[in-house]
Amino acid sequence: MTPEQARNVIDEAISQIAPDADLGSLAPDADLRDALELDSLDFLNLVESLSQRTGRRIDEDDYPQLATMASAVKFLTAR
């Protein structure tokens, strides 16, 4: 998966959970939970959506790597 593909997948997943989110103005290192006002259930939905879209298992131990857009892109392109 290229960084562009990863970014698209994340954008799609977030749009599904927070349709009003302004992804264009989201800083790469901003905390997704804070910036998008995601609660723990939203975050779980995000993890579920990313897992479905990429076909990969995302464990609880991986959650910290999904904290920001930059780290999430890195995580999804790493393997």
């Binding site: 927070a18 349709p19 009003d20 939970r33 006002e37 995601l38 609660d39 723990s40 259930l41 779980l44 939905n45 993890v47 579920e48 897992s51 298992r57 995302i58 464990d59 609880e60 131990d61």
Partner: protein, 478 residues
């Protein structure tokens, strides 16, 4: 229009999911109603055949208004002219004896046990009602704008006949309209239909406007002088104002108005809570080490869809503790405490556009954490994006607000009347804790209780928070 929550006085019919002639069962979702807070699915309280849809799409009507009539099954097979009991679709309130207008503003919620008792007369057909009338007679009454609850029946067993209604219409023609429009429970009279039988008169300076209509017109920005009154002597009634408002805005209210209406609804309810309920507040710091360890261990083995968040365990513990301390689970109504029939856990859910909803997870104390988690996710998704069901918004017996995700350490909430307790959950944070003389970093959460001092004392409240803490020390038993 069934009760849609303690802060809901009216609803707008968004969609009918049934049509006349459809067979429906008790509990089937038959309509979608829009309130200032959410679109709500309304179920039928009866089994039978849809006879008439009375309230049209886009109409806004007060709680208690009959939405549709349902012919019960035995009657449906009878000839059309037979005295088929027509059961109104609506809450128990809609079928009880007439009540003054102000009664609508009382807490719409009531314990299920009482609801069942009151519902009974409706289910057991028209016989139990003081004034039974066939659908055709009810239809006639509607056309003639006769309040059937006031008609003296002369048929067998006090049944109201066509002649009774016609007599009442003639007698009522010269009588001044009541000042307010009574809810007319159990009667298939729609608030907003034109009156073919009684000519309407354009309003002039001398023609009356009921005080309620005037007030609502002012609220909705409707010019009453431009309305056609449907009351006697052309009086402009509430229904006329609402019809004009509906005609002006037939679909869902724009987001801004909606947000404002929601703030007003929340404001009214919370102000009432603080005005009427003598709150007392307690808090407790709970060691979450065992719960978090158990949770991580469990989640490690599971797919994302089956994983639990800490909130699921906290909710389960609050529900079980409510069962252990029943003084906190129920309602304060008519100057006394009425315990809940089970623990229906209201969960405060913030909406993305602002505002909040507190739908209930039914029988939460009976659910395994996994089931409770699934229901919580479903409820949150539907509250934010889809539709809630009427029962979810009216049947909570105790409510939990969890602001931990927002970084708050402790929250002392405002009780949702007529409930008597609200549990607050803060953020789970690592704190230095002394255990066995040694200080170590442990995850802790501050749980709080806001409780109604009329229903319980601090001792019961303290027992409750201690029970929550104890339960969380044995997560495998939750």
């Amino acid at each position: 229009m069934p009760a849609l929550g303690a802060d809901m006085d009216e609803g707008t019919l968004l969609e009918w999911l049934v049509k006349p002639g459809d067979e429906i069962r008790k509990g089937d979702i038959i309509a979608v109603v829009d309130t200032s807070k959410s679109a709500i699915e309304v179920e039928s309280f009866h089994t039978g055949t849809i006879e008439r849809l009375i309230v049209g799409v886009g109409e806004t009507v007060p709680v208690g208004t009959v939405l549709a009539t349902i012919a019960e099954q035995a009657a449906a097979a009878a000839p059309a002219a037979a005295a088929a009991p027509a059961a109104p679709v609506g809450p128990p309130e809609a079928a009880g004896p007439p009540e003054p207008q102000r009664a609508r503003k009382r807490p719409a919620r009531e314990p299920a046990a009482r609801a069942k008792q009151r519902r009974q007369p409706v289910i057991t057909s028209g016989k139990a009602q003081p004034a039974a009338a066939s659908p055709l007679v009810r239809h006639l009454a509607e056309e003639l704008r006769v309040d059937i609850a006031t008609v003296q029946g002369t048929g067998p067993g006090g049944t109201i006949t066509r002649a009774d209604v016609q007599r009442a219409a003639i007698a009522g023609a010269g009588v001044a309209e009541p000042v307010t429009l009574p809810p007319q429970p159990g009667v298939a009279v729609t608030a907003a239909q034109p009156t073919p039988a009684r000519p309407t008169v354009p309003v002039t300076a001398r023609q009356p406007v009921t005080p309620l209509a005037r007030r609502i017109a002012a609220e909705l920005g409707i010019d009453v002088s431009k309305l056609t009154g449907s009351g006697s002597r052309g009086a402009v009634r509430e229904a006329d104002v609402r019809m004009a408002a509906t005609a002006r805005a037939p679909t869902q209210a724009p987001a801004q108005e909606r947000e404002q209406a929601m703030r007003q609804a929340i404001g009214r309810l919370m102000a009432r809570s603080k005005r009427e309920i003598p709150h007392y507040y307690l808090s407790n710091t709970v060691d979450m080490t065992a719960a978090m360890d158990w949770l991580h261990q469990r989640n490690r083995e599971l797919e994302v869809t089956e994983r639990l968040v800490p909130a699921a365990l906290l909710l389960k513990a609050t529900a079980l503790a409510a069962r252990q301390v029943p003084q906190l689970n129920g309602y304060w109504e008519d100057d006394r405490f009425a315990p809940g029939d089970a623990v229906h856990l209201g969960v405060a859910i913030s909406l993305r556009g602002g505002g909040l909803l507190t739908p209930a997870i039914h029988d939460a104390a009976e659910l395994a954490p996994g089931e409770l988690m699934a229901q919580l996710r479903d409820l949150v998704n539907r509250a934010r994006g889809g539709r809630l069901r009427r029962a979810e918004l009216t049947e909570a017996t105790i409510t939990v607000t969890n602001l931990g995700d927002q970084g708050v350490e402790s929250v002392f909430g405002v009780i949702y009347p007529p409930q008597v307790a609200l549990v607050g959950i803060g953020k789970i944070i690592e704190r230095p804790v002394a255990v066995g003389g040694l200080v170590g970093a442990r995850p802790v959460v501050i749980t709080t209780l806001s409780a109604d001092h009329r229903a319980s004392d601090g001792y019961a409240g303290a027992r409750y928070l201690a029970a929550v803490s104890d339960l969380l020390q044995r997560p495998e038993e939750l």
